[in-house]
């Protein structure tokens, strides 16, 4: 099974890249792929409980219900002074080393 990562590295405000990336991730669930959504750098802001998620809330819900792994880079979280309690429950804070390992195993990565 092909491992594919949709990497969200842009914040939810100022650009619509992250919401469109998450929309593409929902389409990828149509195929038998080992799919990961990975939030890094400012992309982790998309997964804050208090973020305005109006343009991508339904995508997140769908991805979560579909069992897609939603991982957030632990280093990016710490660098921004965020805590686990700030993050939505659907996302898992993951050590940077594990994120790199997963990305290195991917058939392709889609960066938004």
């Amino acid at each position: 099974m092909r491992k594919v990562a949709v990497i969200i590295r842009t914040p939810p405000h100022g650009k619509y890249l992250s919401s469109e990336g998450l929309r593409i991730a929902t389409a990828l669930t149509l195929y038998d792929l080992d799919l990961y959504v990975i939030g890094i750098e400012d992309g982790v802001y998309n997964f804050l409980k208090d973020a305005d998620k109006s343009t991508y809330e339904e995508h997140l819900e769908y991805l979560s219900e579909s069992g897609v792994n939603i991982l957030l880079d632990e280093d990016s979280i710490k660098e921004r002074g965020l805590r686990k309690s700030d993050i939505i429950e659907k996302a898992t804070i993951t050590p940077h080393k594990e994120i790199v390992e997963i990305i290195s195993q991917c058939f392709t990565t889609l960066v938004f």
Partner: protein, 116 residues
């Protein structure tokens, strides 16, 4: 025949991205690859008709995508993002599709790259 899939989402004139896609696609076709390109977000401007006064040092993406299609490349436009931008008239041979087509490409090709 080996196959290559490409996704891009930046538009012409403002970004070099579409020109990079075109150059990679040309090279892949030269080497005998089946090429499948998915145009997303502002990338859809690359295949709309009516590009005028494109500086000589830049690639006219409208003409270049016509050439790629004539050489057998499959070029798919994301209809939703094109409609959102009011794009109605696109290069002949472009396939109107959506993100499920992108998923199919990723599932089927030998190599897949995203040009940003």
């Amino acid at each position: 025949m080996p196959s290559l899939g490409i996704l891009f989402y930046n538009g012409p004139i403002q970004y070099v991205t579409p020109e990079t896609v075109i150059e990679i696609a040309r090279t892949a076709l030269d080497k005998g690859y089946k090429v499948r390109i998915f145009c997303f977000m502002d990338g859809v401007y690359s295949i709309m008709k009516g590009h005028e006064r494109v500086p000589e040092e830049m690639i006219n993406t409208e003409d270049a995508f016509k050439e790629l299609i004539s050489r057998g490349a499959e070029v798919i436009i994301c209809t939703l993002t094109a409609d959102q931008r009011g794009i109605k008239d696109v290069v002949e041979g472009v396939i109107k599709g959506g993100t499920p087509d992108l998923a199919e490409i990723i599932d089927e090709v030998d190599r897949f790259i995203v040009i940003t």
